[in-house]
């Protein structure tokens, strides 16, 4: 490479890096891994994820190390002579079949244990029926006569229109905010029954470790128990392609103390206008009274 070319190249590289500099101002570069979450299951799942990840790293160090070693040590340009007699080795074949099997069995055991816990929906304290619609969620607190729709918050909805001219950065919780969040108490085993009205959706809150499909004509179950002291807002999204506005049906769960939950529920039954506000403005299409809402479909 001529000196000219080199200067030009480094100038271009700097120009590209320079144009990227504003990015460094964001705080999100560190968003690299699965959240540990706030439920017992999410922690177990995170632990499984990390163990499997470290196994992959370990195998990777070995395999990639082997590749790199070969590529460096046996370069023709360094005068390497091929050993053409090396064509197979039953011993090696057995070793590299058996060791992976052993690793997989070691991983399968805790995975199966967690899976069994996930499927154990006994002793749930609250059941909420969640119905997916194009493109919003409907929540129905079974046995409590409290039900409402939950759709994308108005500020996000306005900003997300094609050519809206609104900078998403200026909208708080852009696309992850709803008019009426789901409200659940901490330290309580909540069972979610999932179904859908039109097409398949999927209910996913990463901090709860869980996602499950909401399928028309089927009822799926999942449960979560948010740890005591982890009150707050948790956000997620629909995770199954469900049509045009699939990207715009977020999920917000407001975790409150048991007392607050009781008060909230009583208020709902008494017919308070908005369930619990996560956003400052209720969206236009959220019905003011529960009585006015259509009944959830019978799965």
């Amino acid at each position: 490479m001529t000196r000219h070319a080199r200067t030009a190249l480094s100038a271009t590289a700097f120009a590209i890096l320079g144009s990227l500099a504003p990015l460094a101002a964001h705080a999100e570069w560190g968003n690299l891994n699965m959240p540990v979450g706030v439920t017992v299951l999410s922690k177990e799942i995170h632990a499984l994820h990390m163990t499997m990840f470290w196994w992959c790293v370990a195998i990777g160090v070995f395999v990639f190390g082997w590749m790199i070693w070969s590529l460096v040590a046996f370069r023709k340009s360094q005068g390497a002579k091929p050993d053409t007699t090396m064509t197979h080795s039953t011993k090696a074949e057995i070793v590299w079949t058996v060791i992976p099997v052993v690793i997989l069995v070691i991983m399968a055991i805790p995975a199966a244990r967690t899976l069994i816990a996930i499927e154990d929906t006994r002793n749930t304290e609250i059941s909420i029926k969640v119905t997916g619609y194009q493109w919003k969620w409907h929540y129905d607190y079974l046995g409590e006569d409290v039900k409402f729709f939950s759709s994308l918050a108005r500020a996000s909805d306005e900003a997300r229109q094609l050519g809206s001219g609104v900078n998403p950065e200026s909208v708080e919780n852009y696309l992850r905010d709803v008019d009426n969040p789901l409200v659940v108490p901490e330290d309580t085993k909540v069972r979610v029954l999932l179904t859908a009205q039109d097409v398949i959706h999927a209910w996913w809150v990463p901090a709860f470790g869980m996602k499950k499909d909401a399928i028309p004509g089927n009822v799926n179950e999942l449960w979560f128990k948010v740890e005591k002291g982890k009150t707050g807002l948790y956000r997620g999204q629909c995770a199954e392609l469900c049509g045009r506005d699939h990207g715009f049906m977020p999920i917000v769960v407001k975790v409150v103390t048991k007392d607050e939950y009781r008060t909230w529920l009583a208020g709902q039954k008494a017919g308070e206008s908005t369930p619990a506000d996560a956003s400052s403005e209720p969206a236009a299409d959220s019905s003011p009274t529960i009585a006015a809402l259509p009944a959830a479909p019978q799965g």
Binding site: S70, M107, N218
Partner: protein, 535 residues
């Protein structure tokens, strides 16, 4: 001894090939048809790539800048259909057309007219599919997986899409039958099944997979069609059907399908690594058995794509274990390739560079596959960008790199001319850097909670999406170099030798360069076969 072959063919050089359009329209020659398949695949690769760039442009920043969400969904759907059925599968059939007869010592494919038919179905199929972009309601937007009820919400594109898929399926099945018949019946005397190059082996097994699962896809889409037009309710809960049943049928096709896309890649890499390591493939037989076990296992893992649909515990456990098991034969292959390079004498020409990148990056995709197999963790990964990263690692630096490696590797034999090694290497480095900048950050996005198939996202995902989009344009535009380097080689490349790669072995290298029109008019003698194998 290489001369024997040249000599045998010296008197055969009256290739009666028709000229002009007729040569291609009525083509029955395996090389002509192979070329058409490859050119077709290349065109689809660029069309599908343009769609991918629309997707990545929209995702460059949060907020909707360029396209309507409905059109965005059409782009993801069409991109996948074009890349899978239009680019990768036809490219493999093209390579099979070129290489299988040369590698088994045959003059041509066993069923040349069928070969013509199976190719010419494709332009019609993809014209229909692409036409959907212009019909009321727009192109299909329910994802390449076509899950009902969503896929049934399509407008006029629906029947066109289904018919296009039927045509592609017929084309694949006929192509597969041709490969099976050629390999089983046209091998030169003395070429036993276990003397065949691995590319023939992996293609033979792929062909069986195709014959087994393309009819399943056809059945699935036909049921969609009757649900849409004729009032059946296979998949409609309101009529007693079950939308989940579609997913079972689809993935019974779909998982073997992903191996259809990758097995021939294993074959190509198993040819290239020994050549440039100047050492025979390590564990040839175990490679064959590993391929066969992968093919078998691929039929019993399908539900790992549907862990979140709500299966019984026993079902989830079964599919978790079977999926983990598939990593074992895959591992055997990777170890064999490593052992092939070990104590070799390695040089780094472009085909080898692509094969090495395949080795590293396909393995990386295998790792994320292993993680996805862990059901509880899959409840987090599923339908997130983590899955997108996984399958793009196995498909782009996996299948697509292997196709490119194969094209660079065999191009001198096909055309008699050498590509420009410098530009080839530049193409390699830009592609490899681009592909990683493009797909690696998608692991982070998925883990941080970004679902797949969304046109817009919350601001916390902005940074890595921007990086990914920059990688996409680097990767995308680098592919123009590929076309350039091939084009200029064909036009004005240096003349290539009969055996342009010092360590190359196999019957194709016993033919003169460029390979004669009717590859082996007289079968190679046993001594030529063993010479080819020994080399």
């Amino acid at each position: 001894m290489a001369n024997t072959a040249t000599h045998d063919h010296a008197h055969d050089h009256h290739d009666h090939k028709p000229h002009g359009l007729k040569r291609w329209l009525y083509a029955t020659n395996h090389k002509d048809i192979g070329t058409m398949y490859l050119v077709f695949a290349c065109v689809m690769f660029f069309l599908g790539g343009a769609m991918a760039l629309v997707i990545r442009a929209e995702l460059f920043q949060p907020g909707l800048q360029f396209v309507d969400p409905g059109f965005y969904n059409s782009m993801t759907t069409m991109h996948a259909l074009l890349m899978i059925f239009g680019a990768v599968m036809p490219a493999w059939t093209g390579l099979a057309n070129w290489m299988v007869p040369m590698q088994v010592g045959a003059p041509d494919m066993a069923l040349p007219r069928l070969n013509n038919f199976s190719f010419w179905l494709l332009p019609f199929a993809f014209t229909l599919l692409l036409l959907t972009l212009f019909v009321p309601g727009g192109a299909p937007a329910g994802g390449w997986t076509l899950y009902p009820p969503l896929s049934l919400q399509a407008g006029d594109s629906f029947p066109l899409t289904i018919f296009a898929i039927h045509l592609m399926g017929i084309s694949s099945i006929l192509g597969a039958i041709n490969v099976v018949v050629t390999i089983l019946n046209m091998r030169a005397p003395g070429m036993g099944l276990l003397n065949m190059p691995l590319f023939c082996w992996t293609w033979l097994i792929t062909a069986y997979l195709l014959i087994a699962v393309m009819p399943v896809l056809a059945g699935a889409v036909t049921m969609l069609l009757t649900d849409y037009f004729f009032g059946t309710s296979f998949f409609a809960a309101s009529g007693g059907g079950d939308p989940v049943m579609f997913q079972h049928i689809f993935w019974f096709f779909g998982h073997p399908e992903v191996y259809i896309l990758i097995l021939p890649a294993f074959g190509v890499v198993s040819e290239i690594i020994p050549t440039f390591s100047r050492k025979p493939l390590f564990g040839y037989e175990s490679m064959v058995y590993a391929t066969a076990s992968i093919a078998f296992l691929s039929f019993i893992v399908w539900a790992h794509h549907m862990f979140t649909v709500g299966m019984p515990l026993a079902g989830q456990l079964f599919f978790m274990l079977s999926t983990m098991l598939i990593a074992v034969p895959t591992g055997v292959k990777v170890f064999n390739w490593c052992a092939t390079m070990w104590k070799g004498s390695i040089s780094f020409e472009t085909p080898m560079l692509f094969a090495i990148a395949f080795l590293f990056l396909f393995t990386l995709g295998g790792f994320s596959g292993l993680m996805l197999a862990i059901v509880p963790a899959d409840f987090q990964y599923h339908d997130s960008y983590f899955v997108v990263a996984h399958f793009h690692y196995v498909l782009v630096p996996g299948a697509v790199f292997a196709i490119m490696a194969g094209v660079y590797y065999w191009l001198p034999k096909w055309t008699g001319r050498m590509y420009n090694e410098k530009i080839g290497k530049l193409h390699f480095w830009l592609s490899t850097i681009g592909v990683n900048v493009l797909f690696f950050p998608q692991h982070f996005l998925g883990l941080a909670g970004m679902p797949r198939r969304i046109p817009d996202y919350s601001t916390q995902f902005a940074d890595w999406n921007m990086v990914s989009s920059l990688g996409a344009s680097l990767f995308g535009f680098s592919q123009l170099l590929f076309v350039y380097v091939i084009w200029s080689a064909v036009r004005s490349g240096e003349k290539a030798a009969d055996r342009p790669w010092e360590g190359a072995h196999g019957l194709e290298w016993e033919l003169p360069t460029p390979a004669p029109y009717h590859s082996w008019e007289t079968p190679p003698t046993r001594s030529v076969i063993s010479h080819g194998a020994m080399h």
